[in-house]
């Protein structure tokens, strides 16, 4: 391969890595938005909490990294469950207000974390074999980024299994399609929403456990993910498959644009492409409920 095609192949691989990060960030949001139609502005802060959970468990308890990932899922999932039970459940019929209330939640979470842990950056330790670089024929990618790609595939499979192969999944899809009808068949819609919200929050916690090792951990780190995650979900239309396709497309496009121009301008171009796309297809790629939001 000559130099330019190696550069291009490298940027495709980097694009895959960006796509997996977008997908992991957007996964929890997809579930919450796709099922309940809730725009959860605190999603970035759930990611941040996941990263802090890993940091706290490693520093104060000394738990190995791979056990911290499921721990982050349960800790953040429990926080999400509590927030749903105490606030979100009262706002399902006021979508704009959910958006505002969850923004308030994010303010409280950022500030609370800052009061407890301070504003200085924290670091998450990962096993040494994950901090190497994998190289093959001029192509290279960090081992941890490959780990994230594998995690993205694993999480997608797990969510697919929960939604399409379990009783809970059937209930969730029934409530998504028609809440009243599902309720009249004896499904406790409120409970389904609570557990879906907790599941989405837990997945954000897993994302945080991964991103905390990728970057430094700060109380404000969530803001960097939330807008991209939203665009991924909205472009995808709220369905799992839609988010997978849109994160893949956005990641690859961003990487290719960055090769042609620079990474900041690439981000701007992505915004423009998404806005133009949504102008012509406001319901996104694959609409979860068939309802237009």
């Amino acid at each position: 391969m000559d130099f330019s095609s190696i550069a291009f192949a490298n940027s495709l691989i980097l694009g895959l890595s960006i796509a997996s990060i977008f997908f992991v960030a957007a996964l929890g949001l997809t579930i919450i938005y796709g099922t309940a139609g809730v725009i959860n502005m605190a999603h970035g802060e759930f990611i941040m909490l996941g990263a802090y959970t890993v940091y706290a468990l490693q520093t104060f308890v000394g738990i190995p990294y791979f056990l911290c990932i499921p721990a982050a899922f349960f800790v953040v999932g429990a926080i999400g469950f509590a927030i749903e039970k105490s606030l979100i459940r009262y706002l399902y019929d006021r979508p704009l207000d959910t958006l505002l209330a969850t923004w308030g939640v994010s303010l409280v979470l950022i500030q609370g974390t800052r009061l407890i842990f301070g504003s200085d950056p924290k670091y998450v330790q990962i096993p040494s074999f994950l901090s190497t670089n994998v190289e093959a024929g001029g192509l290279s990618l960090g081992a941890f980024r490959i780990f994230i790609i594998l995690m993205a595939l694993g999480l997608a499979a797990a969510v697919w299994f929960i939604f399409y192969r379990t009783d809970f999944g059937i209930k969730v899809r029934a409530v998504t399609q028609n809440r009243e009808m599902a309720a009249s068949f004896g499904i406790n819609a409120g409970q389904v929403y609570s557990f879906t919200f907790a599941l989405g929050a837990g997945l954000a916690g897993v994302a945080g456990a991964l991103f905390g090792a990728l970057n430094i951990v700060l109380p404000t780190m969530g803001a960097g993910y939330v807008v991209e995650a939203f665009l991924t979900v909205v472009t995808g239309g709220g369905a799992l498959m839609g988010s997978a396709i849109s994160s893949f497309a956005i990641g690859e496009l961003q990487s290719i644009f960055a090769l042609i121009t620079n990474s900041t301008f690439a981000q701007f171009l992505i915004f423009v492409v998404i806005i133009v796309f949504l102008r012509f297809r406001p319901q996104g790629l694959i609409s979860a409920s068939g309802k237009r939001r």
């Binding site: 303010l107 500030q111 981000q267």
Partner: protein, 368 residues
């Protein structure tokens, strides 16, 4: 008819007059230059809250990207002020540092003060007209539109950081001198500057109030409740939505101009997501349905933030977050809504409501 004196138009105008009389009298009481400048900046925040109240409270269009118009207006104004201090044929120092040797096309129009100020108002308004037009004809609405404004705002923040040679990137533009209008220099720390901003605030609020009371405002409020029905009644919903969104953008652009004049500084921080959302928070706390209460919301939140002191700032943000959650959950109308409820409990109103209920019951019995 006036069951609740909160809805009495004459009293509303009297309330506006009283509030503005108090605000306008501040420079007569105090001549502390720093205080006047700070209060004038609060006036700018008040304008932003009024603009959000106009499109969100009246039209139901939640705009989380009001920083777009605000930032564009502020940048255009700062560019004009920067060019006023440049001698003929020289270019701003930061451009030299970024490798430019002549004034870029983008900056040419700002050499003329009148053109610059006109652009500061026209550019954001035109952008809102086009962006709103595209979005509303595609029937993008509700939370969806809010996300789109947020994304567009982020795109602007990115591009203004990236265009370093033209915008000085994250450092922003800080014009060395204050704005000159003809022979008049507007010193940002003078009572003249305070009164100019105050006049803008009054003009914007009164204009927005008149819009709300007009026939146009009635249609806008109707489409907040049920756009589908308004559409079936033969109104072009997209036109009304675009217009009210554009008008709110114009107010934000005026606020942006005032901000640049007062602070002599703009940076991509004006495009920050957090800032645009805090405008929404002020409006929600004050009361989205009332222009003047939205303005009070801005004063209260920003004022409290400046005076709690640095050591309490972290606790303050926690309190702000919690009170915002509580207001959204229990008091969707903000303090204006609370005011409406309290005034509705006055004896006069009670008697009227009671009779109405009685009549209603009679009517039901007749129907039986």
């Amino acid at each position: 008819m006036n069951q609740n004196i909160y809805h009495n138009k004459t009293l509303q105008w009297l309330f506006y007059a009283a509030a503005f009389a108090v605000l306008g009298a501040v420079p007569l009481i105090s001549d502390d230059a720093f205080l006047l400048n700070q209060l004038a900046i609060y006036g700018v925040y008040g304008m932003l809250a009024v603009s959000i109240s106009l499109c969100w409270g009246s039209g139901g269009i939640l705009n989380m990207g009001q920083g777009i118009a605000f930032g564009l207006g502020a940048y255009c104004m700062a560019m004009t002020m920067q060019m006023q201090t440049q001698a003929e044929g020289t270019i701003p120092p930061f451009m030299l540092n970024n490798g430019l040797d002549s004034l870029p096309q983008l900056w040419q129009p700002f050499q003329n003060t009148a053109t610059g100020i006109t652009l500061a108002l026209v550019v954001p308004t035109a952008f809102y007209l086009i962006f709103g037009g595209i979005m509303f004809t595609a029937r993008v609405s509700g939370p969806f539109f809010a996300i789109m404004t947020l994304a567009t705002l982020s795109a602007f923040a990115t591009i203004f950081v990236d265009l370093q040679p033209y915008t000085n990137g994250v450092n922003g533009i800080s014009p060395p001198g204050s704005l000159n209008l003809g022979n008049l220099e507007i010193d940002p720390y003078s009572s003249g500057a305070y009164w100019s901003v105050f006049a803008m605030l009054v003009a914007c609020t009164v204009a927005a109030k008149l819009i709300n009371q007009s026939r146009f405002g009635l249609v806008v409020r109707a489409l907040k409740d049920d756009p589908e029905r308004v559409r079936f009644l033969g109104y072009n919903v997209a036109v009304y939505e675009t217009l009210v969104y554009t008008l709110s953008g114009l107010i934000a652009a005026i606020a942006g101009c005032c901000f640049a004049v007062l602070t002599q500084y703009v940076s991509p921080a004006q495009f920050e997501v957090g800032f645009s959302i805090s405008i929404v928070i002020w409006t929600a706390l004050g009361g989205r349905n009332s222009l003047i209460w939205a303005m009070f919301g801005a004063f209260a939140v920003q004022g409290a933030q400046s005076y709690v002191g640095d050591q309490f700032l972290s606790t303050w943000i926690l309190i702000l977050g919690f009170s915002f959650i509580l207001v959204v959950r229990f008091l969707p109308g903000g303090f204006a809504g609370l005011m409406e409820t309290i005034l509705g409990l006055l004896p006069n109103a009670k008697a009227k409501t009671a009779t109405t209920n009685l009549e209603f019951r009679d009517a039901k019995e007749v129907a039986k």
